[in-house]
Symmetry: C2
Subunit: 336 residues, 2 copies
Amino acid sequence: MSTKPKPTPPRKEATTRDAWITYRPEIKVLDCTVRDGGLIHNHDFSDTFVRAVYDTCAAAGVDYMELGYKASKRLFSRGEHGSWKFCDEDDMRRICGDNPHPDVKLSAMADAERTDYHEDILPRDKSVLSMIRVATYIHQIPTAVDMIIDAHEKGYETTVNLMALSAVREHELGQALDALAASPVDTIYVVDSYGSLYSEQLHALVRLFKRAIEGTSKQLGIHTHNNQQLAFANVIEAIIEGVNLIDATIYGFGRGAGNCPMELLLGFLRNPKFDQRPVIACIEKHFLPLAREVDWGYSIPYMITGQLNQHPREAMELRESDRKEQFLAFYDKMME
Amino acid sequence: MSTKPKPTPPRKEATTRDAWITYRPEIKVLDCTVRDGGLIHNHDFSDTFVRAVYDTCAAAGVDYMELGYKASKRLFSRGEHGSWKFCDEDDMRRICGDNPHPDVKLSAMADAERTDYHEDILPRDKSVLSMIRVATYIHQIPTAVDMIIDAHEKGYETTVNLMALSAVREHELGQALDALAASPVDTIYVVDSYGSLYSEQLHALVRLFKRAIEGTSKQLGIHTHNNQQLAFANVIEAIIEGVNLIDATIYGFGRGAGNCPMELLLGFLRNPKFDQRPVIACIEKHFLPLAREVDWGYSIPYMITGQLNQHPREAMELRESDRKEQFLAFYDKMME
């Protein structure tokens, strides 16, 4: 056997598929626990909980923390939704104001057509936020580009999160990427909203996005869902392809099947600035109790919607009902 | 954007990374629910349960079902262990004897040095078994080869499952693969016993195994554990590399963090002979009740042993104790 080649050493976080380096310092981690988790908790968390996530991000070396949405108060009322639907400056300052962690940048997400961004997103020097993330479906791209320009001119770092990619036609996606590549956005996200993408599909999408930003200074991000237990795996594949901004949530907390678990991601990344221990402490203290109250994470109904490349809303309805374990009836209904 | 290349279409189950075919008929699925699950249930299942798994395999198009071990009765007593530790012919015939499913081949596993294989493995024509799977650690290879020859001469299809690969030195692995490639074994398994392998490490290992069997008629198999939520993902990566015999368990039932879930695997495979629906029915009827009694599946202690590339036994002890949610203390102990 000595004449046979040795196995290729693992190339985790390598810049290319051919190089092995210890770690890639360009990789940044964005915690969206409170934002994506807010979707199953009506954005209503105690200050203690949000502060715990914030402190955990700081202790773990996480680069960005997303607090919630900048939703329009004409479309959504404060009485019906928690504070993190709106991310008012006063609310955010209650969490970080007195003793902000200098190495954790704060972000908020703004949904195209569901935000009064001209008024509600303050100039960067009047806000604790550093980053605005624009979430958009493909048909909202012109609005999204206007939002990106607005946030960019106000001084923010910007991302665009093009949602439900797995349901977009290739030709239209190409046009959308052209428009985004011509905008001032800093990071374009590959978003697997339905948790439907397999490894090779994810690789193909990331390569398409890479070609779209060639010659620009933009970078790519990845946001995954765990419908098929592939949220972490698809993050690894994206990192192999060169994606540098990685979304994760503590204990995978997030809508439906949840997201890439932060504890798995930090165990994978080798940059010594990251520390998994504070995340494990936070899970034990805050997320085990939460898991007894709120349902999220991999389960058969979410697997089914993921495999069918569909929005998880019907699976979420089932999991919130007293039929939550009637998997076969749900399968039959969805296959009709 | 029309001048830019289209994304590569998904190449699921393609024979090579460059070809797209609908499905690869060589891919076979082996259900090891009762065998691997027996490790957390002392191999003690009701006939109703084992028969339900058997019927489900038949209805779902699963190619092989593994019932348990062929353990030595000199080392293990029937009083202390359930029937599926021994797979006596009478017990197996109670499950399948009257009305066997012609398309589900039965297998049993025999651990090197823990089996009286010369006596307890009957000639093929006297048994309901079609396949003997030899499980071995690297230092037991000479015994394993003798077991393979014995089973082969008795008329069985054979596999060898080389365990704890992630903890084996490359040079020794090369020698082991040479010995196995020279044996009459039909299938050599890549086994991620500790659930520690990442995508690129798995690819490198499979490529090493592929080179070892070049020029033979042997094929490769894959058996994964879910410590890092990568059991299904690593199966996909192995399939991309050309691995054709795939282990899975219903609802991921198996020791520690469990195995690749059958329902995810059958959703991925496109061969129309496979049907996911009977598996979902079986989960609802048999595995949801089981999950209320027995602890398995991804949890933080299993993640920690997986990341450390260690046997899950300490995590299993924790999960069976009243300290099962003391994640931080476990982390600190394991990191000492």
